[in-house]
Amino acid sequence: MSGLEHLLQGFQIALDPANLMMCLIGVILGTMVGVLPGLGPIEAMAIMLPISIRFGPLAGLILLAGVWYGAQYGGSTTSILVNIPGEASSVITTIDGYQMTRKGRAGAALAVSAIGSFVAGTIGIVILQLFAPPLAAAALSFGPPEYLAIMLLAFVALSTLSGDNPLKGAMMIAFGAFLSTIGIDRIAGIQRFTMGIPNMMYGINFVPVAVGLFGIAEIIRLALNPYVPSPMKSVRFRELYPNREETRRSIMPILRGSFIGSLFGMLPGTPAVLASFTSYSVEKSISPRKAEFGKGAIEGVAGPESANNSAVILALVPLLCLGIPFAPVAALLLAGLEMHNVTPGPLFIQDNPDIFWGFIAAMYLGNFLLLILNLPLVGLFARVATLRPRVLIPIIGVLCLFGSYMTRMALFDVWVMIGAGIVGFILTRFGFPLVPLVLGMVLGNILEDNLRVTTQWLNGDFSLLLTRPITLVILALIPVYVFFIRLAGKKVFRNGIKE
C-alpha cells in the first residue's frame, strides 16, 4: 500500500500551516468569484498568479487550484436564488434550482448543491489519485477524429434538453449555434457576421447572453406579476435543509453526476459546462418523474452541480500527467509551476512526489473546508428568496450589470445582456425554451472546432476514419445510447401505467 503511504505523507505536507492557509484563502476566494456572476475563476487566478509565485510551487498550486474548484461550489448560489448563473457551468442549474426557490425550497437546493459538490469533488480526487497516468495516456492516444466522435456523442446525449416541443428546441439550438459563429473565426481568422463593428469581432460572449436570458427576463417577469408572499417566511431552521425525501432522491443523481463529470473532465475546452449539461440531460431522460423537471426537480440540481465539480478535478489530469493544459484555467496552473522550473508531464508524479501527493491531500482538505464554509451560508443565502420584488429587482439588476460588464470590461457586453433579456422574455412568452439556445452557443463552438480540425487532418480522405478503431467504437456508441435512453423511457412509461 505505497499509495496510502504517499497520501499520508501528502497530508503531512498539506497540513503544514502555510499550505493550509493557502488552501483556505484559495477556496474562500473561489467561493466568492463563484457567487459573483461574470467574475470567473480565470480572472481571479490571473490576478493571484504573480502573488502565488512567492510561496513556492506547491503552495501556489494549492492556492490557484482552490480558486478553481471553489468557484464550482459558489457558482450555483445565484443560479438557484435569483436565476442568474454565477458561472457558465451553473447555467443548467437555473432551470430547476430557481423553481425550487419559488416553491420555498431554496435552502434544500443550496444544501444539496453543496453536498453534491463535496461528494463529486472527493470522488474526482480519488479517481485522479488512482488512475491519473493511464487516463492521461488515453487522452494522448486520442487524435482529432476521436475527439470529434466524443463531441458528437455528447451532442446526441444533450439533444434531450430540447424541451417539450422538439421543433422549437431544435430552432433554439440552431440559433445558439449561429450566435457562436459571430466574430473572428477561431481557425481561419475570418470575420463572420461582424458587420464591421469592432466589438463584434470578439464575438457574442456567452456570459452576458446567459445573464440576460435568465436574469433580465426574470426581472421583467417579477415586475409584471403581482407580489405573492413567499411561503419561506415562517420556515424553521431545520426545514431549510433537505428533507428525507429530497435526500433520497439526490443520492443517485450525485453519484451519476460525479461519474459523468469525471468522464468529461478529460475533454479539451470547457469540461465543466459540458459535464453539467450532460448530467442534467441524463437525469431527465432516466427519471421516473420527467414531468417534474423544469418545475423544481431536485435531481436537476443535484446531478449537474456534482458533475461540474468532478469535471474540474479531472481536468487536472492532462495538465499534471501530460503537461498539456486542455482548459484555459489549467494553463494558469501550468504557468505557476513553470515559474519554479517544475514541468508537469508523464514523469511528474515520479519526480515530484511531494508536490503531487501534497496537492492531492490539499484538495481533499479544500473540499472539506468548502463544505464547512458553504453549509452555514445556506441559511443566510436562503433568506434572499424571501425578499419582496421591489427589493429583489434592483439586486438582480445590479448583479446582471456587474456580471456582464466584469467579463471583459466592455459596455458592449452590457447591451448584449439587456438585448438578450428582452429577446429571452419574448421567446419565453411564445413558448421557446431558452436552455437549448445557451446549449447551442456552447456546443456550436466546440463541435465546429473539432469538425474543422478533423477535416483538415483527413485532408479529403474519409477512408482514414476506418483506420481509427477508437473513433469507430465511439461512433457506434451513439445508436446504443439512443436505444438505451428509449428503453429507459419506455420502462418508466409502463411502470407509470401499472401504478
Partner: protein
Amino acid sequence: MTLTVFCFGLLLTGVEAYPEKPIKLIIGYEAGSATDLIGRTFFKHMEKELGQPFMIVNKPGAASALALRELLDAKADGYTLGMSCSVNVLKIMGHLPKTHHDFDVIGIPLLTGSVLAVPSKSPFQSTKELVEYAKGNPEKLRLSTTSKGAVFWIHARYFERLTGAKFNLISNPGGSSFIATQLGGAHADLGFAAYRPLQGQIKAGNIRMLGVTSEKRVAAFPDLPTMKEQGYNMVVSGWAAILAPKGLPSDIYKKLLDAHAKVVGLKAWQDFCTATGSVGYPEYTGEGAIKFMDQDAEIQKPILEEIGAVKK
C-alpha cells in the same frame, strides 16, 4: 519672482514625480493567455522600478485591436499603456487603421522563436531530411500549428516559402494544447509552435525538436541548432510590444524607456525568458523595437496577402 520660482518648482516636481498614481495597462488578450502572463510578470518588475502599482485590464478581441482602440483614446500622460503582439500588421489586416508608428513604442520585453518539432518516433533526424521528404511528397505530412494568420501559422507558411516544401497545414483554434496533443500522440508529423506549451511533452520524450527560428541559440535548449545554422535563412519570432499613446511628454517617455531597458536586463527577467524558451534583449527598447516591428511586418505582409487577409 517668488511665483516664477514656485511655478518652476511645481514643474520640476511634476517631472520628478512621475508616476505619482497607479498606471493602467490594457492587455489585448484574455486573462491567463500567454501574452497576459508575460505582461503580468514583466509589470511586476516594472512596478518595483517605477514605484507605482500597475492596474491590469484585459480587453481581448480582434487580435488586440479592441485594446489598441482604447489606448488610442487615452491621454498621452504615461498613465495608460497597452500590450499587443500584432500592432504592426493590424492595419494591413483591416482591424485597425493604425500601425506601431502611431504609438509611442516603449519596447519588446521578449521574443519567442518558433520551434519545429516532430513526434519522437518520427524518422526525421534533421530539418534537411524532413524538407527533402516533404518536397518529394507534397501535402503528405501533417503540420500542426495555430489558427490561420496567427504568428506560428505565419511561421509555418514562411517555412514552406523558404524551403519550397508543401505540407497539409492543420490550423488549430485557441492556445497550443491541440498542437501538443497532436504531436505528443503522433497524430501529426510536425508542428510549429512556441516551446512553452510543448515543454512537458518534450521533457517526457514524446516530442523532439529539430530547429528553432530564433536568431541565436536559446538558453533553455542550447543544443538545438537554429534554422540559420541548418542552412535555412529563417529568422522570425513571436513577440509582444508595450505601447503608449502617441505624444508622451519626452521626460516621461524617457523614464519609461529607461525602466523598460533596465527591467529586460534584470536577472529575474532573463530567468523568466529562459524558463519559457524565449530571449529578452534590452536593445529592443524604443527605436530598436520599432525597427524590429518594421522588419517583421515585411515578412508577414506577403503571407497575409496570399491568404486574402490583407484589406485593400
